[in-house]
């Protein structure tokens, strides 16, 4: 279970309040598919993912990225109960989507890199550390119902 101090929650909220969910979600999912091309195994139905350009320009990638990051927003709103918040999604990712939980860690780290890119100096080591805890907590929560 992840424990975030008041200070860490503050860091997370401060960044989150300035995030463009649609843009950052698309960026994060796009980078996941480009940096770790094998993750495209879950998205064969998305069409052309053959190049960085086609991935970033793909409307389905953009749409799905936005969806994923919107859901991540629930994590930010419920930092003290990630397992409960993501219980249903965990079942979905196991039973219907068949996603190896390793992918949650990959996407979490990609999200951290996207945030670093957007926020630069503001994304201090301390801010990063809080976000690393949160993405690790989300990854764990999403894997929690796997069987």
């Amino acid at each position: 279970m992840v424990h975030l101090s008041g200070e860490e929650k503050g860091y997370i909220n401060a960044i989150w309040s300035k995030v463009s969910i649609d843009q950052t979600g698309a960026e994060a999912l796009g980078r996941l598919l480009i940096v770790y091309p094998w993750t495209s195994r879950f998205f064969d139905h998305f069409g052309d993912l053959s190049s960085a350009k086609s991935v970033m320009g793909n409307a389905k990638v953009q749409g799905h990225g936005a969806k994923v990051l919107t859901s991540f927003g629930d994590a930010v709103k419920n930092m003290d109960n990630l397992k409960g918040t993501f219980a249903k999604l965990s079942e979905l990712h196991c039973d219907k989507l068949h996603v190896d939980p390793e992918n949650f860690k990959l996407l979490g780290n990609i999200l951290v890199i996207c945030l670093a890119e957007h926020f630069g100096k503001e994304f201090t080591p301390e801010v990063q550390a809080a976000w690393q805890k949160l993405v690790a907590g989300v990854a764990t929560a999403l894997a929690h119902k796997y069987h």
């Binding site: 980078r31 890199i113 100096k121 994304f123 990063q128 550390a129």
Partner: protein, 142 residues
């Protein structure tokens, strides 16, 4: 996973930017490592790891310098990193999991400093490059 011509060009281009602030980048990557992953501090009980410490700066400089040497000899990574590979295997014996952590904080630092240049393609190339470097540094472990 091998580096293509395009990868190598992207790696060199990012290095050109990094090298303008090499020590600062190396130091920051280490700071991020120690703060996000406190367990990594166990390898440095003999260091003052506070922000601004001379030892931190010296070590950051060393690490980024080695990466720069690797970039300059990118077609010959195994031989370029041979001595460091032995050092890590026989003397330092840093657990292999930590190479991924440092690679990640290096990427975060580059992204924060050079957002415009750190495109998705450059990100992919550097992720591959650091994976290769890590693999070579742990190659002689057993």
């Amino acid at each position: 996973m091998s580096l293509t011509k395009t990868d190598k060009a992207l790696i060199a281009a990012i290095w050109a930017k990094v090298s303008t602030q090499a020590d600062c980048i190396g130091t920051e990557a280490l700071e991020r490592l120690f703060i996000s992953y406190p367990q990594t501090k166990t390898y440095f009980p003999h260091f003052d790891l506070h922000h601004g410490s001379a030892q931190l700066r010296g070590h950051g400089s060393k690490v980024i310098g080695a990466i720069g040497d690797a970039v300059k000899d990118i077609d010959n990574l195994e031989s370029a990193l041979s001595k460091l590979s032995e050092l890590h295997a026989y003397i330092l014996r840093v657990d292999p999991v930590n190479f991924k952590l440092l690679s990640h904080t290096i990427l975060v630092t580059i992204a924060a400093h050079f957002p415009a240049e750190f495109t998705a393609e450059a990100h992919a190339a550097w992720d591959k490059f650091l994976s290769k470097v890590s693999a070579i540094l742990t190659e002689k472990y057993r």
